[in-house]
């Protein structure tokens, strides 16, 4: 029990003007500021940190190839004992949290800081093309597949074919997510939206339109983990990491084993549920990486929150929105809150807000156990965390 891993602090970087970082911010300073805020929430300081996990797209080629090293220098950490720079795309931070949990349990580290930052909006760094046509991508790129959206679009098309999901199904997800964002003062897009708004929006890659796609924003965040024992001296009640899992399957969408099923999430969540001794029926809140509306639909099914093909009923009529039967992405998600490029960390931040009961207007009722799931690449990788206010 004493070295049981817990989360004790979280923070996200403030933005303005539809997701732009505040003036003067650098990709490193937003990570430092978020880290300091998360540490302060717990009652810790940077001097307590002896483990660091980070992933991002910044500083590459160059020092970004060794992000844990550069941030050790920038944050002024003294001889960190645990470093993790694993980059599996947007799922990375959820994977980091799982591994950090084991590092804490084993005594390899006492206080692990997980950070992320991006200025992709301010730097206009995002484009649908321009990726190198290498390895298994030497077919996708010359064909003009806009990435990542085109790959998710092909999965959506296949899901519709196999399971009968429709553009309206996907629109329900965008609308429910926007309704949560309306309750989150930090969200970049808060105006109400209807299913028709989503259906009428500019098509990007069929069947995905503008509002089926996540935002492009700046942003950053931090999560602080330590031992349960340590929380006796800290300000925040512990959020227990009950279970975790991660996996990967493909780099090109051509090699996704079954394009209608997110099997990588099934695999990672199976491990997480087994470790937690909990099942889908005991989950009160799902924080799912919503790179696109289809990602949510496929993740709900793969995590066993409903069966394969049942997602379209699961999300119908605002069931996952405010006041609905099952809250999903209560911060407004990557679709309406923020999406700095690798969103996974924000699933953990909001799950903790909800578990602590400090989510303000968007607080969902009776959230004791939450599942966080990150998806990276083109439905390529998955990482799952099961968090709870209770241990065991």
């Amino acid at each position: 029990m004493s070295r049981s891993p817990v989360i004790v602090g979280v923070a996200d970087a403030p933005t303005h003007e539809r997701g732009r970082a505040l003036p003067g911010a650098t990709v490193l300073s937003i990570q430092r500021d978020a880290a300091n805020e998360a540490l302060a929430q717990a009652g810790l300081t940077m001097r307590d940190v002896d483990g660091l996990a980070v992933a991002g797209m910044w500083g590459m080629p160059g020092p970004g190839a060794m992000q844990p090293v550069l941030l050790t220098e920038y944050l002024g950490l003294e001889w960190p004992r645990y470093l993790d720079g694993t980059n599996v795309g947007g799922a990375a931070f959820v994977l980091h949290a799982g591994r950090a949990a084991e590092a804490i349990r084993s005594g390899q580290a006492d206080v692990v800081l997980i950070v992320y930052g991006s200025l992709q909006k301010s730097q206009a760094a995002r484009a649908l093309g321009g990726r190198p046509a290498m390895f298994s991508n030497q077919w996708d790129i010359p064909a003009g597949l806009p990435l990542p959206v085109g790959a998710y679009a092909m999965a959506a098309q296949r899901h519709a074919h196999v399971y009968g999901s429709t553009r309206e199904t996907l629109a329900e997800i965008a609308v429910a997510t926007r309704a949560w964002a309306a309750l989150n003062p930090a969200a970049a897009f808060r105006e109400p939206m209807t299913v028709d708004d989503v259906l009428d929006a500019r098509m990007i890659a069929s069947p995905l339109g503008r509002y089926d796609c996540c935002l492009v924003t700046d942003g950053g965040g931090a999560v602080v983990m330590t031992t349960e024992e340590r929380t006796r001296d800290l300000r925040t009640p512990p959020v227990h990491v009950l279970g975790h899992g991660a996996s990967a399957s493909h780099a090109s969408i051509a090699h996704m084993p079954d394009m209608a099923k997110l099997e990588v999430a099934e695999q990672s969540s199976r491990a997480a549920y087994a470790m937690a001794g909990r099942g889908p029926a005991e989950i009160d809140l799902a924080m799912l990486y919503d790179s696109f509306t289809i990602t949510v639909l496929m993740t709900l099914e793969a995590l066993g929150l409903c069966g394969y093909g049942e997602g379209k009923e699961f999300v119908r009529g605002g069931r996952t929105g405010p006041g609905g039967a099952f809250p999903v992405n209560t911060n407004g998600g990557g679709l309406s809150y923020c999406h700095p490029g690798m969103y996974g960390l924000f699933t953990i931040i909001e799950a903790c807000h909800q578990l602590w009961g400090i989510a303000g207007e968007r607080q969902a009722e009776g959230v004791r156990t939450a599942i966080c799931h990150g998806t990276g690449g083109v439905l390529s990788s998955g990482a799952t965390l099961i968090l709870s206010t209770e241990n065991g």
């Binding site: 093309g129 030497q138 077919w139 092909m154 069929s206 969408i253 051509a254």
Partner: protein
């Protein structure tokens, strides 16, 4: 003749595919142990040894496994072509290839549609296998 679109970074493991394409042949890999066909990724021949894998010429026919109609181009090089169809074809031998489906009837494109390969010589050095509705 040059190509203004992104070109594949051909490596030793993909060279037979692109060389075959220049010669008007659609090349895929076949695992001698399992009999399964695939392209480049070893995902579909788990556990196979390199020695078991041979390049074979595919018939060039298959069906649409999935597709997307791209209204937003993958960069400026594709701007003049929207809307265009990117397709994931499942060849009759079982391998999957991402390519373009070139058709005058985009609205008729559907999963399960029969397609056949043709060879688009986009530059002196590069021929890209693409697909059209089977005729």
């Amino acid at each position: 003749m040059t190509c203004d679109k992104p070109v594949p970074a051909i490596d030793a493991e993909s060279e037979p595919y692109w060389t075959g394409a220049r010669e008007g042949r659609l090349m895929i890999q076949r695992c001698g142990r399992t009999g399964r066909c695939f392209l480049y990724s070893r995902r579909l021949a788990p556990g196979a040894e390199d020695a078991d894998i041979r390049w074979i010429e595919a018939k060039g026919t298959g069906m649409v496994y999935s597709f997307t109609v791209c209204h937003a181009p993958a960069g400026p090089a594709f701007r003049d072509e929207t809307p265009y169809v990117v397709v994931c074809v499942e060849l009759d031998e079982g391998a999957r290839i991402v390519s373009n489906l070139v058709t005058g009837d985009i609205d008729a494109v559907h999963i399960g549609q029969r397609v056949e390969v043709f060879f688009d010589r986009v530059s002196d050095d590069l021929t890209v296998p693409k697909f059209r509705p089977a005729g």
